[in-house]
Assembly symmetry: C2
Homo-oligomer: 203 residues x 2
């Protein structure tokens, strides 16, 4: 979380100055490892969204964060660009030059993202390569946040990514007023990620 | 997210003043509904943790946020106190006086928390009662965050709650360096919430 929040706010501080020079970016430490290692919300999304919100009104924040999450969950990360940066030692703290396997998370969660990274790469979750993969991913997500903010400022932003939730599920299981029809939940995430391919089996 | 972040920071602003009067609490709008309705991390946890981090060093933040999450996931919410506040019209904006059913989420996620609330109460996810339940829960979580901060400041903080993850799972499936032993994931959440009671069946 700190990595992406600090990246965007530091750039704003350097380019714009006040009021961004009053924001202590260390306030985003808590989101590391999906909330202090609970592996909940990926910290790269939490930090980038906080930065987007810091310099956007409510409606713009909603649109850009929605887009960022949609992109994040449906894109193979780390990107080729991130791997190329590392190969060419272009990061400020370039710890590793080798190419790392990319994977699509289909989820907002650190837990799912890390597992899919490990399964795609064969690296253990406590390996330096997995940590480096998350660092490259943080660069990707911060970069995407800045791209979205820039497009919004230029009036060229258009939403591309939608929710992951299957329409066949959300036609009943969505936020709504009819409990008996299945309106007893909410969300935009991939339903089958946790509920399996046939969640009604046995019911 | 805004509800809990604003509650704690406003209190700090009123009691302490600078530097808390420089923090625009509207920066926490994005966490509503588990990240703009994605139903990921519960916004009450995100906002309270951001507030804890804002006025704590890194080690203290880690300890208090861990405790807040452990408590949140294992406590029936909204609390009796929250229901009593509503019954006595003690909230600044007291929208509803009736008692609302409490439920234990066993999860950090908005999606799971809202579903368990609906199943426990019979109210639909888009009902005014479900919205009111989340508002009362925000009061509970902000209050707990302040309780933890106060205990920490007084030197009386002791961790009570641990992770939810089953030891029988995390003896293999944890953050670590041995991929073949099962170290291809991370997290402290309840494993069986998504993986079922017998996740090795068929493997």
């Amino acid at each position: 979380m700190y990595a992406t929040f600090n990246a965007v706010v530091t750039a704003l501080r350097d380019k714009v100055g006040s009021p961004y020079d009053t924001i202590p970016t260390e306030m985003a430490y808590y989101g590391e490892g999906g909330m202090e290692g609970w592996s909940s919300l990926c910290g790269t999304l939490n930090g980038s969204s906080l930065a987007i919100n810091l310099c956007s009104d409510k409606a713009t924040t909603s649109a850009l964060v929605n887009e960022l999450i949609g992109w994040y969950t449906q894109t193979a990360l780390p990107s080729d660009t991130a791997n190329q940066f590392a190969a060419q030692s272009e990061y400020l703290d370039n710890k590793m030059t080798k190419k790392l396997a990319s994977s699509v998370s289909d989820s907002t969660l650190c837990h799912v993202s890390v597992t899919k990274c490990c399964l795609a790469s064969g690296y253990a979750s406590g390996s330096p390569e997995r940590a480096e993969r998350c660092a490259r991913l943080a660069g990707d997500v911060a970069s995407k946040a800045v791209e979205l903010l820039t497009a919004s400022a230029n009036g060229t932003f258009k939403a591309v990514y939608g929710p992951l939730a299957e329409a066949s599920c959300t036609s009943c299981h969505t936020i709504g007023k009819d409990y008996k029809a299945g309106n007893f939940t909410r969300g935009k995430g991939d339903c089958t990620e946790c509920h399996g391919d046939n969640p009604h089996a046995g019911s």
